[in-house]
Every structure is written in structure tokens, then in C-alpha cells.
């Protein structure tokens, strides 16, 4: 009962605990990579953040589908909030990837990293989503257009992934790969905790954003009633 009434507080607490333990594990528990040294530890942030960004985009598209298909109340707002967070996580993926590229290859940007290129394409795509959304008046029209564009996004993710793989044949062959040797048990455990932490952070932020947006909408309604 308490959990249901305080879902936001509970998910925020869960995210905080998981994040703290992930950082502790990364700092003190997981062994330093023999090949890349200390800089490899950013892997435990970079990849979970990237996977969480996919989860955000997927969730946003799922809610968009619910909006178009079932006309579910509030699904448009949920889809928007998920994609908004996806763009934030995507920007963080680009940032951490860029730092990692600098640390291990000495350049801030590497076209040979497929993950980074894919995120650049997705980042551009979802920035266009914002432009679309904010140049239409709020209402059913905006909800429909945003939902349709969000659905395009989940089709674009695998297609772009495939395209970037294909492009390597004629752009230039892969010099560096981000998947090195197999992860050991402790590395995999840390990775999973870190991923769970990122997902929990997304969950908490998602609830927080939604609560804020809903209160905002209620306030506007009440103000209109009073006016």
C-alpha cells in the first residue's frame, strides 16, 4: 500500500541505492582491465547508458503505438517523456563515448565506432522529433504526428544499425572494435548492476517528469476554470 502511494519516492530511492552501489563496484570491486587500463572503466557507464537510451526510445514508441491504436488516455505525454529522457541518455552516450574514444584512441570522435555513429543518427532524428512536436499546437493533431514519428524511430534504429555496418565496407575497414576480450564474472556482475542502476534512474526520472507534467496540466485546467 505504501509502495503504491509513494511509487515515485520508492523508485527514486531504488535508483539512488543502485547507482551508489554501481559506482562503488566500479571504483573498488571490478578489476582494472589488463589491456586498456583505468580508462576502460567508463565502459560500465557508457554501455548501460546506451542500452537505457534504447529502452527509452522503445518505451516511447510502445506508448505511441498505444496512443494510435487503443487511444489510451495520456499515452502521448508518456511517449514524449520517455523520448525526452531517451535524448538525454543518448546525449550522455555520445559524451561518454567521446571521452572513451579520446582516452583509448586519442581522438574525440571516431567514425569507426558503430555505436557512436548510430547514436549520432538517432540523436539527429529525435532532435527533429522535438522540432516537430513544438511546431504544432497542443492537441490531438500534435499527439498523432508525434506518435507516428516516434514509431518511425524504432524502425530507423535497426535499419540504421544495418546501414552503418554496410557502410564500413566502403567508408573504411574497422580498425578498432569496442568489444574486446570476454568479460569475466566480476566484470559482468558490475556491468549488470550498472545497467540496472541506469534503468532505475530512467524509471525514477520518468515518474518524476510525468508527475510534474500532469500537475502542470491540472494547474492550467484549474486556471482556465477560474478565469
Amino acid at each position: 500500500m505504501w509502495l503504491r502511494n509513494n511509487a515515485l519516492a520508492a523508485s527514486a530511492a531504488l535508483a539512488a541505492v543502485l547507482l551508489a552501489s554501481a559506482i562503488a563496484l566500479i571504483a573498488f570491486y571490478v578489476p582494472v582491465d589488463a589491456d586498456q587500463g583505468l580508462s576502460q572503466k567508463i565502459f560500465y557507464f557508457h554501455v548501460p547508458i546506451a542500452l537505457t537510451a534504447y529502452a527509452c526510445f522503445g518505451w516511447g514508441a510502445w506508448k505511441a503505438l498505444r496512443h494510435l491504436w487503443k487511444r489510451q488516455e495520456g499515452a502521448d505525454l508518456e511517449s514524449y517523456v520517455a523520448i525526452h529522457l531517451g535524448v538525454i541518455f543518448g546525449a550522455m552516450t555520445l559524451l561518454t563515448g567521446s571521452i572513451w574514444a579520446r582516452a583509448s584512441w586519442g581522438v574525440w570522435w571516431a567514425w569507426s565506432s558503430k555505436q557512436l555513429v548510430l547514436f549520432l543518427v538517432l540523436f539527429l532524428f529525435y532532435c527533429a522529433y522535438f522540432m516537430l512536436r513544438f511546431s504544432v499546437e497542443p492537441g490531438p493533431r500534435r499527439a498523432n504526428l508525434s506518435a507516428v514519428y516516434a514509431l518511425f524511430g524504432v524502425v530507423l534504429i535497426p535499419i540504421s544499425f544495418l546501414a552503418i555496418r554496410l557502410a564500413e565496407d566502403f567508408i573504411h575497414p574497422t580498425v578498432f572494435t569496442s568489444n574486446g576480450p570476454q568479460m569475466s564474472g566480476s566484470m559482468f556482475f558490475t556491468f549488470c548492476v550498472s545497467w540496472a542502476a541506469m534503468l532505475a534512474t530512467f524509471g525514477a526520472l520518468y515518474r518524476l517528469e510525468l508527475a510534474g507534467k500532469r500537475i502542470d496540466a491540472r494547474m492550467r485546467e484549474l486556471r482556465e476554470l477560474l478565469a
Binding site: M131, V148, L151, F152, V155, I159, A163
Partner: protein, 213 residues
């Protein structure tokens, strides 16, 4: 089904007839692509090679298509035709399909001039490139017309179309350039066909939500 196809044919014929009488879009596209090719001559310093030229050909195709697509629904908007079409007792996806067929015809006509011109100015164009252009045109027109219908519903209007379209056009560029420059173009042509199939399906299924409230 035959009703649907005749709706599509009527809508496509209307656009082709309008173009034939008004000549709004196609001359602009032709002039644009010819000027772009001349610009590319000066953008490519000597020694950059054939491959760079083939890459730029794809840039020219995408931007020429954008030029035409940004005009795709202007007549409908100015005359308020879209509301009438939405109210008409036919499937809404016919509006998309008819417009996409018309856009494909314009783009193909522009390329009938552009490709020989490219061969004249730069390097010869092989069969794989032509096949790639045809397959890419299908994708460009399917997605482009869909996004053009979206963008005219916004405040930004035509300005929004390139922003919405270019991230979605990146896989088309990859497939097209791959088909033009590599030894075995088969996989790139297959990839273009896959793109066309996927996006045409999603456009066809969701166009109703773009035009209807």
C-alpha cells in the same frame, strides 16, 4: 480493391495534370540538379577521383528530391483540398500513395536528365547505380511524401521537411553509394529494397493519423 486503385490513380493523375499545366515543380528540379552538378565540378579539386563524384551524385539526388517534396502539398494547402480529400469516402492512405506515385514520376524525370548529365560531366553510370537510384527513389518518395504531409500541418511548414527527412535518408545514402561504388552491389540493392518495404508499409499503415484529427 479496384476502387482503392482507381482512387490512387485519380489522385496521381490530378498531380501529373496539374504539373503538366502549371509546370511548377519539374523545371525547378531540373535546373537545380544541373546547377548542383556544375557546383560539384568546382567543389571537387582535381585528383579527388571518380568515387567522390559518385558520392556527390547521391547528394544531388537527395536534395533535388527534397526540393520537389517541399512543394508536394503546397497546392493542396493553398486551396484547402486536403480537408476535402480527408472527408472523401475513400481510404486515406490512397492520398499518400497517389502523391508518392506523382513524386516518383517527377523525381524519375529529373534523373532521366541528371544521370546522362552526370555521365557527360564526370564519369559513366553503370547499371547497378541506375538500379540503386530507382530503389532509392521509391524510399525517398514514400518517406518524403509522408513527412511532407506532416510538415505542412506544422507552423514551420516547409522548413521542417529537411530536418525530419535527412536522418531518415541516411540509410538510403548508404545503400545508394554502396551500390554505386562497390564491386558487388547486390547486398546494397537488397538493403534498399528492405528499406523501401519497411518504410512503405509503415507509411501506408499510419498515414491516416497524419491527415485526420
Amino acid at each position: 480493391m479496384s476502387g482503392y486503385l482507381s482512387d490512387v490513380a485519380a489522385l496521381a493523375r490530378k498531380d501529373l495534370l496539374l504539373e503538366l499545366r502549371g509546370r511548377d515543380t519539374l523545371p525547378a528540379m531540373l535546373l537545380f540538379v544541373a546547377s548542383a552538378l556544375v557546383i560539384f565540378h568546382f567543389a571537387l579539386p582535381s585528383g579527388t577521383g571518380e568515387l567522390a563524384g559518385l558520392g556527390l551524385l547521391w547528394v544531388a539526388i537527395v536534395f533535388t528530391a527534397l526540393l520537389g517534396l517541399s512543394r508536394a502539398f503546397v497546392a493542396e494547402r493553398e486551396q484547402g483540398v486536403l480537408d476535402g480529400l480527408v472527408l472523401a469516402p475513400s481510404d486515406r492512405s490512397a492520398i499518400w500513395l497517389g502523391k508518392a506515385i506523382a513524386a516518383f514520376a517527377f523525381l524519375a524525370l529529373a534523373e532521366v536528365v541528371a544521370l546522362p548529365l552526370f555521365a557527360l560531366f564526370f564519369s559513366s553510370v553503370d547499371g547497378a547505380t541506375v538500379a540503386g537510384v530507382v530503389l532509392a527513389d521509391v524510399g525517398i518518395c514514400a518517406v518524403g511524401v509522408f513527412l511532407a504531409a506532416m510538415s505542412i500541418a506544422t507552423r514551420a511548414r516547409e522548413l521542417l521537411l529537411p530536418v525530419l527527412f535527412l536522418p531518415l535518408a541516411i540509410p538510403l545514402i548508404v545503400g545508394g553509394v554502396g551500390a554505386s561504388v562497390t564491386e558487388n552491389p547486390g547486398r546494397y540493392l537488397g538493403f534498399l529494397a528492405l528499406y523501401d518495404l519497411l518504410f512503405a508499409t509503415i507509411c501506408w499503415a499510419s498515414f491516416e493519423y497524419v491527415v485526420a484529427e
